[in-house]
Amino acid sequence: MKKLVLIFTLAISVTAIAITVSSCTAQREVSAQKSGAELWAQNCIRCHNIPSPPAYSDVQWETIGLHMKERANLTSEQIDKIVAFLQSAN
């Protein structure tokens, strides 16, 4: 019973988050202004040393991008721009 309440609360929270987020389109543009290079410098340093673009090929960056999106819970905007930057600078 308690667990149900818990799962329910969680489901509501996730929904609430999703709604808040989609209603924040205007504000989302603020972070949309950041470049891929900037996002790379700020985010890829948070857990381990920052890998430089030549470390991997374009195809490898795609795979790593998805892996890091998952591991670091990065937003789609962030990871798409970062991968594009890494692929352009390697």
Binding site: A18, V21, R28, S31, Q42, C47, A55, S76, Q78
Partner: protein, 387 residues
């Protein structure tokens, strides 16, 4: 069993080489990554000194990506223990990107209970050679489990939030029938479920600064760990954790400042466990407040903006960690550890770590008679590489 693993790896590598052929980027991408470490530990206690080569551990990671949304990831762990090759499955899960805000994962995955075990434990990422007290495979908090999870992230203005919610098999309560002196402990390596009660957990992380340098996180994990049909079936466990991370290159100090911390709180409801060696057959029972706590705070600095190429790659680290297990239990202990370290980064994923740990403990399995207090110091010289 081992043969199956080796054959599987062979097939994976062979499959990978097929996918790697051709000039167009293939829909299916395959990557082998991973890490290994080796080292020397020199332990000094009141009883004398002991030194041994340790590690020789290798953890390959296999990533299969299909299209833009689907990926399978698995990590194996090869380690020599008591002259035997131990093979472990660290994680093996499928993931699918549902939309911009959600991703689903199923299988055995690292649990986002705090951040250390999910994000910071690999030898080439962890700044020190050891895990903080109470973290890791025999710690007081979970590392990985089997189940399903929804996770994602989003921007709220200039800030970012990330979230995950999961349902897994959960740990098993040790009732003392096999190891009386561990009655009341949670066994997190419980991959064959012992009951129908699933554990649920969640973590929310918030990055309040525009430059993403700061992340604050809160997690919980709860369920019933007792064996089905046993007197312990109604025992509940509630675990929570808070985590902190700040990483930034700061010009006035000419380098990268990295601060990480996590607090774990593990509370089980009261239960009566049998006294003495007879385990379950004993009629005398005892109880205690089953609360364990573990935390660490770590600070490191690397003069990344120094002009000297040697200085640039040096890093200094300090970490305090503490573990308290339940008072009145057979496994009561209070341990704290101060670790200092000097690292030299050969590449972004290869490091030589020289660490020195001062450990003070009271109680626990190794307690001597008398005061039960122990002091030990350990020097670690480790080499770690990410592939």
């Amino acid at each position: 069993m081992k043969k199956i693993f080796i054959v599987t790896i062979g097939l994976l590598l062979w499959g990978g080489s097929i996918f790697a052929q051709g000039s167009k980027p293939p829909k299916t991408q395959f990557m082998v990554r991973g890490y290994g470490h080796a080292g020397l530990d020199y332990i000094k206690t009141a009883d004398g000194t002991d030194y041994s080569f340790v590690g020789a551990a290798f953890s390959p990671i296999f990533l299969f990506k299909q299209g833009k949304r689907f990926m399978f990831e698995t990590e194996l762990e090869f380690e020599l223990q008591n002259n035997e090759l131990e093979i472990g499955l660290e994680y093996a899960n499928l993931m699918y990107v549902i939309n911009k805000y959600l991703m689903i994962r199923g299988g055995k995955f690292l649990l986002p209970f705090g951040t250390f075990m999910e994000r910071l434990h690999p030898a080439w990422i962890n700044r020190l050679s050891s895990k903080p007290l109470g973290f890791g495979h025999d710690g007081i908090a979970p590392a990985s489990d089997i189940g399903v999870e929804l996770r994602g992230a989003a921007h709220i203005g200039g800030t970012a939030i990330n979230y995950s919610v999961y349902v897994v098999n959960g740990p098993r309560l040790k009732d003392g029938s096999i190891e009386p002196d561990e009655a009341g402990m949670l066994n997190f390596q419980n991959y064959i479920d012992n009951n129908n009660n699933k554990f649920v957990g969640a973590r929310v992380g918030y990055l309040p600064l525009y430059n993403s340098s700061l992340e604050l996180g809160a997690s919980f994990y709860t369920g019933k760990p007792g064996d089905k049909g046993s007197v312990y079936k109604d025992v509940t466990a509630f675990l929570w954790a808070v985590d902190f991370s700040f990483v930034k290159q700061i010009s006035p100090i000419k380098g990268i400042l990295d601060i990480k911390a996590q607090y774990n709180h593990t509370q089980l409801s009261d239960a009566y466990y049998p006294v003495g060696e007879e385990g379950r057959d004993s009629t005398d029972l005892y109880t205690f407040n089953n609360l364990s706590r573990a935390y660490y705070a770590q600070l490191s600095y690397r003069p990344s903006m120094a002009s000297s190429s040697i200085l640039k790659n040096i890093e200094i680290i300090g970490r305090y960690s503490q573990l308290n297990t339940p008072e009145g239990s057979e496994w009561e202990s209070n341990v704290n550890e101060i670790t200092i370290g000097l690292n030299y980064w050969i590449t972004w994923r290869q490091v030589v770590k020289i660490n020195y740990a001062f450990i003070n403990s009271e109680g626990g399995h190794d307690a001597e008679d008398g005061t039960g207090k122990q002091k030990s110091n350990t020097l670690f010289v480790h080499w770690a590489i990410g592939l």
